[in-house]
């Protein structure tokens, strides 16, 4: 469920079909994932999972795979 929610956030913010939201999706690789969309993704993740991310995690969240990994630290399992 969490993975699906996470995919929906990325899909909605980056205006990507949900099937294109894969682990390889990365900040520097996809032109619509810039600082603005990154901040919207962070805000949406925090609202959806009721968490507050540290600055280091906001910076490190540079791919969808990394997002799943970071969310584990906050007790959100995205397998």
């Amino acid at each position: 469920m969490s993975t699906q929610q996470l995919k929906e956030i990325f899909s909605s913010v980056l205006e990507l079909p949900i099937e294109d939201v894969t682990d390889s999706l990365a900040y520097s690789q996809y032109y619509k994932w810039d600082s603005m969309s990154h901040m919207i993704i962070i805000a949406d993740i925090e609202a959806a999972f009721n968490i507050i991310l540290d600055t280091d995690d906001i910076i490190d969240m540079s791919s969808f795979a990394k997002a799943r990994e970071i969310l584990k630290k906050y007790g959100v399992e995205c397998e």
Binding site: Q29, T55, S62
Partner: protein, 182 residues
Amino acid sequence: MMFYKPVLKGYAIELHPLVEGDCDQIFAWRNLPEIREKMTDSAELDYNSHVQWFAKMLTSDAQLHYKIVYKNKEIGVVNLKSNCTLTESTEAEIGLYIADSCYRGNLIAFAPSLLLIDYAFEQLAISKLKSQVRCSNQEALRYNQQLGYEVLSEDEKFAIISLTSERYALSTSRLKAFLSRN
């Protein structure tokens, strides 16, 4: 008399003024092909010219050059330059490159600009920043627009961009908040 060049800290990074011992590191970074090709002058640097420029830069009061330090790792350079003494100038130019490829295309790349622009607008008397960016460097143009820069003019090769403190404040409040947690 040369003005005091402070260490700047914030937004998860530190900016350390360049010192004599940084000369070779900066030469190596500045000559990386992926860095050179984005510069206004993209020619390969000659070592002796670089050493001369570096020595002059260290004592100049019209420019400030900083190493960007993130998690104790030196990842690039940011600088502030003017046509006259920085403490008396109202207009200056910011330059930046991230030498460590791990941190290019990452939110952390905004931190050095935020820190140095804050310093320029809040601690110096600078009210406007201007830069010249290669039109082919769309990544840099987008980056600067996210900081609030607007394009003043452009020709086939270069765009002239400008930033006022008002536009900067409006454009960066959210970004600053995200990079100032903990």
